[in-house]
Homo-oligomer: 305 residues x 2
């Protein structure tokens, strides 16, 4: 295995451990269960999930390294007749019980393509990933903290990166059928290949650094909000909003649809779906409320830092 | 307006009234609210919804007649450069509160295409529709009653129809990513055009008759099960299974995706989504239970009559 794959495989395993340990520590009650799975075409993964914890109603932190012949839909996507691939990544979605704590998603991945079955001749390779925050009630300072943490990680690798990947995040996590963003954004990047300015090694370092920033971006927000009181109406609002999260993941999210098309493990893909959800007919936040304030922000992306 | 459009428009309005009256009568408490909406490109609809009724937790019965230039995604679908259309239909989804009562969906529609903007030269016209039943607990007699009612309606128009449309229903309402059917099926038909055996007028009569059969197919089941006791575990199971309903509608259902692509009214499209839903990680029915019995049936479609 090439050094870059070896290093990234170690990285996602360590990051999974680090994140799960930190989440268990905050939760106090919930413990991650781990399921190891094998992929028919090659490779597999380790899915870790907490359910009905004290703080986290449902949280999944998955890693996988899969390889083999490109599945047909992906060949079509890349416009190639034949090809082999290796893909490794970590993917997490955290749904807290308390509606004052935002939901968060993050994903960091490396992808290689080959011309030969033995996967010795790499024809392409790139990094991708990002993180985005989905509050139910908006605290501007939380959105600012989340963005600032990732901006700091980006800035070490060039001042051009945060503005670009922040914008891509706003564009990607968008429920076009509702004309509103999923949340307050964060970073989204893909196809980070060697170019005039940065080598693949540079992008590797960038991806690992943004991944390491995750804990610092999210856990301080959890600690700040986890003891905030909330009532059944606020919980109701959270469940309604979680419906929008489901809509995004099942209608628009490329990662989810990629997983379904390539016959990934359904339960690992769908760990992203919220535990309890509501769809009411024609539900709207009342003008002037904190709920309406959130919607205003989702209608038009802001600069947070 | 041509006679066939005029008659079908009257038909769906009358059927909506008939169904809503019957549902309100059974519910005793819930009353339909009606929202009239206009479509930007031409036409509009009447959406009627009950929420938090005594029997029906959420039930939507919609009619719409829309027309105008074919939206771009539809032009692409039909492989035409230009074209105009008229589409009228009734669509309903009923989610009862009691998990012993199945969820039901039905839809009956007529579609015309034209070469000219004035929509005087019809180039094509067809009927489509169907109905399918999604139980949470299986009573074979209920599935048999539902299928028998629609078989009787079909048989008046030819013995070939029920077997064909029953099979199409099993194929269509299938969650391929779960390798299980959405429910116990019913009828599904589309593109019913004039052919060697039947005129468009014949298909018109067929579609109206199957539409009229709906009340007789479903309401006796509601009456039979509405006073059945249930516990919180059975309600939990219903919410888990409703998640599969959402998955089908957002990932696979052509009607939903058509609505989103053509910028239909979101709240009318999504009235089909269940009111309360759960996604637990890797949830399975215990072998030997009534829950597992349902899954067995969903894994392999049966002949009910």
């Amino acid at each position: 295995m090439s050094l870059i794959k070896k290093k990234f495989t170690e990285y996602i395993r360590n990051l999974q451990n680090e994140i799960c340990t930190a989440l268990e520590q905050i939760d106090g009650k919930g413990k991650f269960r781990e399921d190891e799975w094998q992929r028919d075409g090659g490779g597999g993964g380790h899915t870790r999930v907490i359910e009905k914890g004290e703080v986290f109603e449902k949280a999944g932190v998955n890693i996988s390294t899969v390889h083999g012949e490109l599945p047909d839909p992906i060949k079509k996507h890349f416009n190639v007749d034949k090809g082999w691939f290796w893909a490794g990544g970590i993917s997490l979605v955290i749904h807290p019980e308390n509606p004052m704590i935002p939901t968060v998603h993050a994903n960091f991945r490396y992808f290689e393509l080959y011309d030969d079955k033995k996967m010795t001749r790499r024809s392409d390779g790139w990094f991708g990933g990002g993180a985005d925050l989905t509050p139910y009630y908006l605290w501007k300072e939380d959105a600012r903290h989340f963005h600032q943490t990732f901006k700091n990680a980006c800035d070490q690798h060039g001042a051009d990166l945060y503005p670009k990947f922040k914008k891509q995040c706003d564009e990607y996590f968008y429920n076009s059928h509702r004309e509103e963003a999923r949340g307050v954004g964060g970073l989204f990047f893909d196809y980070l290949r060697e170019d005039d300015q940065r080598s693949l090694t540079d992008w590797h370092a960038f991806t690992e650094d943004t991944g390491h920033a995750f804990i610092h971006s999210y856990l301080p927000i959890v600690k700040k909000r986890m003891n905030a009181p909330y009532n059944t109406k606020q919980r109701y609002w959270q469940e309604i909003r979680r419906g929008r999260y489901v809509e995004f993941n099942l209608i628009h999210d490329r990662g989810t649809l990629f997983g379904l098309k390539t016959k990934g493990r359904i339960e690992s893909i769908f760990m992203s779906l919220p535990p309890r959800v509501r769809w009411d007919y024609d539900f709207h936040a009342k003008p002037g409320t904190r709920e309406a304030e959130l919607i205003d922000v989702l209608k038009k992306p802001r600069e947070w830092v």
